[in-house]
Symmetry: C2
Subunit: 202 residues, 2 copies
DNA sequence: CGGTAACCACACCGGTCGGTATACTGTCAG
DNA sequence: CTGACAGTATACCGACCGGTGTGGTTACCG
């Protein structure tokens, strides 16, 4: 069993060595400390690069932010591919449960929750160039849930996908905001029960 | 039926007329545009007040932020009281469902989701004076769910409360981040099904 | 009458932020 | 040989930000 919905990730255009360091530094700093808190000077310093180089490569902070989220999205999907490969789910239901199990590993060692949710709140402006990446990431999760549910022959896959997404996002945000350290385990149990009791197409 | 868990809201210390206007302006601006985006000058101008007055009343922007969240928490609880009064739930289960139904009304007309989640992300620093208010609000929700579940004679009220909180927070965040306009209705249906199938103490 | 609290107007501060300008160095392909 | 490209170093900019200081005006209250 594998993921069904096309990720349609624009293949990362090749970066210069300095560009790679900048993106790496921006990724950790933006996630650890927040997008607004981290200035371009701090990123340039952490990447051991001049601000000039940073602007030559990325043009503006906003575009660097967008690059950061696209990069994080790629890392997220690579992570899911590894998780799916090692857990080797046998049924579509197990794929869904593996996605929830993966969440625990994904958040291990971090305390800031979901970088996409955080970015959405920090950027606020709906027309920010990074917004499509954020909404896209969430909607990919939903459509993957729906595709697996449909493949499993479960009734009303749309409604089920909506509910799974709520559990998924709820875990991410409760982990961070409500200081609920076991949020991902609770979500995994809730998802398992939901799938077990959900009606099937006759 | 009524809410069970003490709100323990520090009674709002009386404000001067200008202080009231400042808090009102800060509340709408902070929620609509974000805490970091809105400067003290903008708040003072919106409240038709000098910056001097703002600092005489609230001391610093951070303390104004804390006051904003405490105020929003009071408004939230007053809103819940009204909702409970008008929906007049007959059982503890109905109280829980009324809390979910209330969410739809609470988010009506806004597109920024939960002010507490947003503030938690924007402030980031764990030692910010406003953090206890944020975590407290989420934990109050959880303990209210748990108290109602216990009163209803439902098994494992702690686990049930955790799952209800995930749905609750998931709805708030999916509404904003995933552009899921019907998130609160989905959460309400999920909560209803969850309560209907949850085991009871024998 | 005198004091005090609540305001106004306005000017000012140091710091930080995103972003730009100038000038120079190394490397590599046509 | 010669551009083009990637990079360094450093200085600078205007705008905005949170916050302070001075000085003056009401109005109420003991």
């Amino acid at each position: 069993m594998r993921l069904l919905v096309d990720r349609a990730l624009p293949t990362a255009d090749p970066l210069t060595p300095a560009g790679t360091r900048i993106l790496a530094a921006a990724s950790t700093l933006f996630y650890e400390q927040g997008i607004r808190t981290v200035g371009v000077d701090a990123i340039a310093a952490a990447a051991d690069v001049t601000k000039k180089t940073l602007y030559d490569r990325f043009g503006s902070k906003d575009r660097l932010i967008a690059a950061y989220l696209e990069h994080r999205n790629r890392v997220w999907h690579e992570f899911l591919d590894e998780q799916l490969a090692s857990r080797a789910p046998a049924t579509p239901e197990d794929v869904i449960l593996a996605l929830f199990a993966a969440l625990t590993d994904w958040l291990a060692g971090s305390r800031n929750g979901c970088g996409f949710i955080n970015a959405s709140v920090e950027l606020a402006a709906p027309d920010h160039p990074a917004m499509p990446v954020i909404v896209g990431q969430k909607q990919w999760m939903r459509s993957e849930f729906e595709a697996q549910a449909r493949l499993a022959g479960l009734a009303d896959p749309g409604e089920l996908a909506d509910r799974l997404l709520l559990l998924h996002e709820g875990a991410l945000v409760s982990f961070r905001v409500a200081a609920m350290t076991n949020a991902t385990e609770v979500a995994a149990r809730a998802a398992a029960d939901l799938l077990a009791t959900w009606p099937r197409l006759s």
